[in-house]
């Protein structure tokens, strides 16, 4: 699997994100392939990537990936839509092991879910501006109709835990009214940010109300975990005991408070690193 070293099924999977949101991908991985050891890196000193330029995002993402490669991972998951959208080619070029971005699996899942080919995608400014979902979706189905919208308030809403109340509904409505104004026929909404699974219920409900028909919501965390299982194939660790999770972060702030909300289990600790 590796080009310039030996990688075995006992090696860990590496996952990185700009912050804590990528822990929704770790959660999905631990559910899909529980025997795997996982190394997670949150670049919390430089979060968020979503408001930064492609050049800056690529530089940061390469440093994150190298940190994981230095620890012998057999697979890299970019659990950050902004980094996937802006830096995937550079990350693949720099890695001797397979690299899975957040955009491609989400795009595939969305095309599998839609009945009429009308898709909507929401994410950070960086992800939406990159046009990465449009590229990934149209390369698979040139006939698909895609509408896109940046939703900057959704990340702090998820972090505050205001995910099922009047403010969450009003903010979801403000954004989704804009999205459905682009295309009233959207039947599938892609959550193009790893923070957004915490808002999945309210987005599904408000989206369906605005549309007047059921709207399926696809989150890329589950799609990435499935893609990881496929990519590993016979290289997956099939032991019956649960794998280790080792977490690293570039800054301490709020990690203890926020991580369990995204991971869905207590965080046993993390190590501070400087990239």
């Amino acid at each position: 699997m590796g080009q310039d070293r030996t990688v075995t099924k006992r090696h860990p999977i590496g996952v990185f994100d700009s912050g804590v949101g990528g822990l929704t991908v770790v959660r999905a991985l631990r559910s899909a392939i529980p025997g795997e050891d996982i190394i997670y890196l949150g670049d919390t000193a430089r979060v968020p990537y979503g408001s930064k330029s492609p050049r800056t995002v690529e530089r940061y993402a390469l440093a994150c990936q190298q940190f994981l490669l230095d620890r012998g991972v057999k697979l890299v998951l970019i659990a950050c839509n902004t980094a996937s959208a802006n830096a995937l080619p550079a990350l693949i070029a720099a890695s001797p092991v397979p690299v899975i971005g957040a955009v491609e699996p989400g795009a595939s899942s969305a095309l599998a879910a839609t009945r009429n080919g009308h898709l909507g995608v929401i994410g950070t400014l960086g992800t939406i501006r990159s046009g990465a979902y449009a590229t990934a979706i149209h390369s698979r189905n040139p006939e698909a109709q895609l509408s896109a919208l940046a939703c900057p308030l959704l990340v702090p809403l998820a972090e505050e835990g205001w995910t099922d109340d009047d403010i969450a509904r009003l903010v979801a409505k403000r954004y989704l009214v804009q999205l459905f104004a682009q295309d009233r026929e959207i039947d599938t909404l892609v959550l193009g940010c790893t923070h957004y699974p915490l808002l999945k219920d309210v987005l599904a409900q408000v989206g369906s109300e605005i549309a007047g028909h059921p709207v399926a919501v696809v989150d890329s965390a589950s799609a990435m975990a499935e893609a990881a299982r496929e990519a590993l194939g016979s290289g997956a660790n099939r032991r019956s005991t649960a794998g280790r999770l080792d977490c690293f972060a570039t800054d301490t702030s709020r990690l203890d408070e926020l991580a369990p909300r995204f991971l869905g289990e207590p965080l046993t600790g993390f190590e501070l690193v400087d990239l």
Copy 2:
């Protein structure tokens, strides 16, 4: 004024912030002392500082200040409450010219505005956690009652321009109910973040409604401009023509769109720099 070089009244004032919010300080400066040339640096590649640790904030702030000192400024304004709260001593120690933080002027203005000595302060997580406003206020008046709250949604609200609608009112209410639950007698609210002046009206109105009495709102941008005029004294540039404004940023993203909202005038351009 300088220790190891000559600084004249013709030299510019340097202002830095983690992003675009500090342009509210530039706006106040251009109103208070219009003849001054100003160099503004927004560290937009690493925004926001508010969610980062004190050590990281100090490192970034020192780099910003050095950028301004290298361009010969006669005075440095830290137009970022998080950087002021976490890095002021280090910045003063590293500068041959006077340094004005955001916290001390805001604290003085708040104490001048209150009638009963009951103050509230809101800001980013980093500013509130630092306890810098409590320190600054209690060193001036040990009897003052101070309540504090971090309000992470207010920055993206200001950036979206959602500053006078149902969402702004609900978010303001959600936060201010928590603040006034700490002390119902608060009569003065300090805006401890340079983004917040855009939400001044809604915060004043909602705060007064919750309190049941008028609540004065003090913003540190105006307080800093006044402190700058006092610090310059005879070193102020008293020419009658308007000064130059030269803007620098570490990342391009959204600056053209956001800057006029905070500056109150069109941005004539900015130069991209790498710190």
